[in-house]
């Protein structure tokens, strides 16, 4: 099961023509996410895809807000990993799910791209993803290329 979190307008999302399977879950602002157990979904997916406008080298407010909602599946206990403290991850899919972070926006500066890359890798480590793929696109239309990355 894929979990896709995006901040696109519904029309733009439809135009991407993503081929989804029945079990895949899409979380978007237009689709609403109140009452959805986002943490539970993220903790059981095989691939977590975050499609976000690049905001100052990080995720957009909507995508960041979704990540904040999965807080209860995270911690509160701490552990040591890679020489640093991290929250213990309770999910069943830790170390088995793949993470894909896609940032779009015109005029993403090299510095913002670097920030976004570091943020994505760091989040992957925090969430205990098996691996993280990061992609940047200048426009929403170019996001169609994502089809080749998603499993």
């Amino acid at each position: 099961m894929k979990v896709i979190v995006h901040d696109l307008q519904e029309k733009s999302w439809q135009e991407l023509g993503m081929r989804l399977q029945e079990k895949d879950v899409v979380i978007s602002e237009s689709g609403g996410c109140e009452g959805t157990d986002i943490g539970g979904l993220m903790g059981s997916c095989s691939q977590l895809v975050l499609i976000s406008r690049c905001v100052y080298g990080g995720f957009s407010p909507f995508v960041q807000g979704v990540l904040e909602k999965c807080r209860k599946h995270f911690g509160p206990l701490l552990e040591m990993r890679h020489g640093q403290t991290h929250y213990e991850v309770k999910s069943a899919n830790k170390n088995t799910f793949g993470m894909v972070c896609c940032f779009y926006g015109n005029n993403i500066t090299p510095r913002e791209e670097q920030s976004a890359r570091i943020l994505s890798v760091s989040d992957g480590i925090s969430l205990q993803a098996r691996g993280v793929r990061i992609a940047f696109y200048d426009t929403v239309d170019q996001l169609r290329q994502l089809k080749g990355i998603l499993v």
Binding site: V55, P61, Q84, E112, I118, S122
Partner: protein
Amino acid sequence: MILFLDGGYTLADGSVACAESIREYARKEELISVKIEKHMDWDRIYRYLEDAHAIVLAADVYLDSVSADVLHFLEKVEQAVINGESIGGKFYAILYTELYEGEQTTVAMEVLKNFCVHANITWGRGLGIGGNKVGTAFGRRSLRNLFRTNAADFRQRSLYEQAMFIREKVQGADVYIKPEEVSRKEYIRKINHEMKKSNRVKIAHDI
């Protein structure tokens, strides 16, 4: 005037609130505190932003980022600048994390710096505070702790330093701190012990 933006720093428990610390150390400078929320009085905010010589954001960091509400706020400020608002004050950040290492606020600090570039605001100085659970798990319950240097003091010294930079309107290198008096291993052990204990109490209450 110092504009203090409360981006949600609820993790700073057991110690004097950040705004009060800055107010105390900045002495004669007027400090106006505003909580960042979804719905704000933007006319008032823009006036404060124009008048402030220093804008101080205090916020928790989660998954290497400030909260969605803070990001939304920053975008609104950038848009205001594009629309003609003028912000002359320098931007200072105080970021908190429960994780031991203050360096784990670095990525969030970069996001704020990138915002300053977009909004044409001068970056002042950043302070990243790790080990922010010190003060709860390291309370004064035992005699031994009474005679130890209060581990929570590590925040106060750095807040004082940050307040000096803010008061003098100068830029400085970003600083990242952790509770040096406590080892990483001891910090993790103590926090986890307190968490498990409070869960047991909660379960007992529920029963």
